[in-house]
């Protein structure tokens, strides 16, 4: 009997996509592809396999199938040699928008043999059953990273930034609203900003700069797949925020006592000019000087160069980091507003190499 060897229910879809999943794949549709493997691209951030598929009695066509992040796949037993050129597989998946011969795999079944070659990748989960205290420096100040001799990083648990205090707003993992009529509840938009936000929502976030590997400034840096890490360089008076996804960039938060610059004097940048200070166990970071080349949160929230953020990071225990942000951009919003969420500690792991440009080089440009 032929069939059925491999089933891989892949990790959460947005984890697999650099940009908004909805902008790339049509979740309302399903596709079954059966064919021989012609190529395997085992690259970060998204592994692809290519299949020759005969559609009905028509000609053979070559499909590209995205099937997960290699790092996560390897942790779950899959390797670059799990499939071979010429293997015949059946893919159940979601087709790309626009009729392109591209799909996102929900399962891959090897039709010859009966060999299970990998199991569903599992997202790294935080250890939440033990409320260990947050690690501290010798002077008693909270550490934002691991305790000495330990490893770990932070993972975001949220899909969107919305104004705190309201009823939950249904939306998907990319911040795509279930009901566009909820837009006004997301933030106190000026009319132009609400119209632009709704446009981005209606067009399913297709213009998201992060999908083009543009750096994710503002709260967006804490919403990307693969987490982030703080590196506290106390002797240099600064904290680095290392990003595990996006364009593998970093942000500098100065903690050397300097004052924030004047908005008109700061060179505009993706991460702005950030000055931090400790308020008890909370790191308070004031940032200005943002450019307008990115979306500062999932879902397409607009901003201008007038954006001013005040972020508060409170590590209440080993596994929990509360993130609160006050958004003040009077050119975009009618008043300052607050939002936030909680980050989870991913213990005993380190950020892995991840370049969103890699697929451009290896998969898309040949």
């Amino acid at each position: 009997m032929k069939s059925l060897a491999v089933i891989s229910m892949l990790a959460a879809f947005p984890m697999a996509a650099q940009g908004p999943f909805a902008a790339t794949y049509d979740s309302a549709r399903h596709i079954t592809l059966k064919g021989a493997v012609t190529r395997i691209d085992w690259v970060n951030p998204h592994a692809f396999l290519f299949l020759d598929v005969r559609e009905g009695n028509g000609p053979m066509t070559n499909w590209a199938v995205e099937f997960g992040n290699p790092l996560e796949l390897e942790r779950n037993g899959w390797s670059r040699t799990s499939l071979h050129i010429g293997d015949v597989v059946t893919v159940e998946g979601i087709p790309a928008v626009g009729g392109h011969k591209v799909a996102f795999a929900k399962s891959v079944v090897l039709t010859a043999g009966n060999r299970k070659i990998f199991t569903p990748p599992a997202k790294p989960r935080a250890v939440t059953n033990a409320r260990e205290p947050a690690p501290r420096w010798p002077d008693g100040q909270i550490r934002l990273g691991p305790a000495p001799g330990k490893k770990g990083y932070w993972a975001s648990t949220t899909s969107a930034l919305v104004e705190a205090g309201g009823a939950p707003i249904p939306m998907d993992a990319d911040g795509l609203l279930a009901h566009i009529s909820d837009a006004a509840r997301v933030a106190p938009f000026q009319p132009w900003a609400k119209a632009l936000y709704e446009y981005r929502q209606r067009t399913r976030l297709k213009d998201d700069p992060l999908a083009r590997c543009i750096p994710p400034g503002g709260p967006r840096q804490f919403q990307i797949a693969n987490g982030f890490q703080f590196v506290e360089q106390r002797d240099l008076g600064r904290i680095l925020v290392l990003l595990g996804g996006g364009d593998r960039n970093w942000r500098v938060i100065y903690t050397d006592g300097r004052k924030q610059g004047e908005p008109d004097e700061v060179v505009r940048s993706y991460y702005g000019n950030s000055v931090g200070r400790w308020d008890g166990d909370t790191l308070v970071v004031d940032s200005i000087g943002f450019n307008e080349h990115f979306w500062f949160a999932k879902g397409g929230l607009p901003h201008t160069e007038g954006l001013h953020l005040v972020e508060r990071f409170t590590r209440s225990d080993l596994n929990t980091l509360k993130y609160e942000v006050t958004v003040d951009d009077p050119r975009t919003y009618t008043r300052p507003w607050k939002g936030g969420w909680t980050m989870e500690w991913v213990p005993d792991r380190e950020l892995q190499e991840y370049f969103c440009e890699e697929n451009a080089e290896s998969t898309f440009i040949r």
């Binding site: 012609t38 290519f50 000609p59 053979m60 066509t61 070559n62 590209a64 392109h100 011969k101 591209v102 000026q190 009319p191 132009w192 609400k194 119209a195 632009l196 446009y199 981005r200 067009t203 297709k206 213009d207 700069p209 999908a211 083009r212 590997c213 543009i214 307008e292 080349h293 990115f294 979306w295 607009p302 901003h303 201008t304 160069e305 007038g306 009077p330 050119r331 975009t332 451009a360 998969t363 898309f364 440009i365 040949r366």
Partner: protein, 133 residues
């Protein structure tokens, strides 16, 4: 041929999103716009329009430089992204000339978004097309 087609198609898809990589994502009118106006079959006049959103109004200039014309008012219907521009200048004889233009903003998410519509300068009427530079 079949196998060569896929990389080519995806390369085109990729390049189409790489090219506008530095798009301005703030107020859609902010920036420098370049194009022309005139009658469809007649002479076209080049125009450069610089606009900026200050939080309350869109301000700016037509043809920045020694002969620039400050924008009198810019209003936007955000439901349809229809833009109306009014400005006042003088002709070569020093006679006041009013400029009014009304156009529709298209492809909001693109760096090279466009603004197209009708342009009236004094008694002359025509159409205009501007592309964000």
């Amino acid at each position: 041929m079949r196998r060569r087609a896929w990389p080519l198609i995806v390369a085109c898809m990729w390049l189409s999103i790489i090219v506008p990589a530095m798009a301005q994502q703030g107020h859609p009118l902010t920036g420098t716009w370049i194009g022309d106006w005139g009658s469809a079959s007649g002479q076209r006049t080049a125009i450069t329009l610089v606009m900026n959103w200050d939080g309350k109004n869109v301000t700016g200039l037509i043809n920045p430089g020694p002969d620039s014309i400050p924008l009198g008012s810019v209003s936007v219907d955000y439901g349809s992204w229809t833009v109306r521009i009014d400005a006042d200048t003088k002709d070569a004889a020093g006679k006041p000339v009013h400029i009014s233009a009304e156009g529709k903003l298209e492809d909001l998410g693109s760096y090279h978004r466009t603004l197209k519509g009708t342009w009236q300068q004094g008694a002359a009427k025509g159409d205009f097309r501007l592309t964000r530079d």
